[in-house]
Amino acid sequence: MNGIMKKLVFSCKKASELIDKESVFPLNWLENIQLKVHTSLCKACLEYEKQGHILDELIDRHHQHENQDEIPQVENQELKIKIISKL
């Protein structure tokens, strides 16, 4: 990215921060505009934004997969004995 653009829209580091911030908190209007301008000019950050959404989906589905029905019931007889001995 050239110098003038950087002054107008800020750095890729900052853009990537806003991209991940947006996945947890809403951005304010200024941040929103800055990010939109940046990603309209910067392919790398646009890609980072896309991959952020993919990552969200992958982690979500990963956990759902582990949690398909109910929480798996695990027996732990040793723990039972250990706790009873401490009471």
Binding site: M1, K6, S11, C12, K13, K14, S16, E17, D20, K21, S23, V24, F25, A44, C45, E47, Y48, Q51, G52, I54, L55, D56, E57, L58, I59, D60, R61, H62, H63, H65, N67, I71, P72, Q73, V74, E75, N76, L79, K80, K82, I83, I84, K86, L87
Partner: protein
């Protein structure tokens, strides 16, 4: 029910509860923490706390519900203290991602991922790689990811529970995602190219 409970010595009642409910509590704690040892400790602490504050249990709720409430608080305390643990310095891989003038380092510039996310999610090999990438996160970062994705809570709720500022929280999420992205890229998306 209440009268019956009061006739028995407290520790006997709690022992009965251990027998009845410890497996359910353990399963829950294990699911939340993905760590057997931690889950065992949390369940043990739950029963010890129940013994100490038994006078506050008035039989108004089911024993299991009451124990679960104690356990949930213990798990939250666990997340809170994990989140406050400093990240070891050797985890400074982030330094190389951006140049000094804050552009992407040429080697780190995000390249398009060609795989379809819906397809790879069903592949066992990919699931294993994602699991391993999640495990490799420093404790603080992993905690942030667990809270955001596993608990399905809003950012504001999480910050309130952890007693941290929004900035603190999203910065940790940011670092976690940079690392996860890189880990997946190295081990999956760009593997052929390497």
């Amino acid at each position: 029910m209440t009268d019956q409970l009061k006739e028995k010595p407290t520790s006997e009642t709690i022992k009965t509860w251990v027998d009845l409910y410890s497996d359910s509590l353990f399963s829950w704690a294990l699911h939340k923490t993905s760590d057997r040892e931690v889950a065992e400790d949390l369940v043990q602490e739950t029963f010890l706390a129940a013994l100490q504050s038994y006078h506050r249990f008035e039989g108004k709720s089911q024993p299991k519900t009451w124990l679960m409430a104690i356990l949930k608080n213990k798990i939250l305390d666990h997340y809170r203290s994990n989140f406050k643990k400093p990240v070891p310095l050797e985890n400074s891989f982030l330094d190389g991602i951006f140049t000094e003038d804050e552009n992407w380092n040429s080697k780190e510039t995000p390249q398009p991922w060609t795989d379809d996310a819906h397809e790879i999610m069903d592949q066992d090999e990919f699931k294993l790689i994602l699991s391993n990438c999640l495990k490799k996160l420093p404790l603080q970062w992993k905690t942030a990811i667990q809270l955001k994705y596993f608990e399905e809570k809003s950012g504001d709720e999480i910050c309130q529970e952890l007693e941290v500022t929004p900035t603190n929280f999203w910065q940790v999420i940011h670092r976690s995602k940079l690392q996860l992205r890189k880990c997946l890229e190295v081990n999956w998306f760009n593997k052929v190219a390497l």
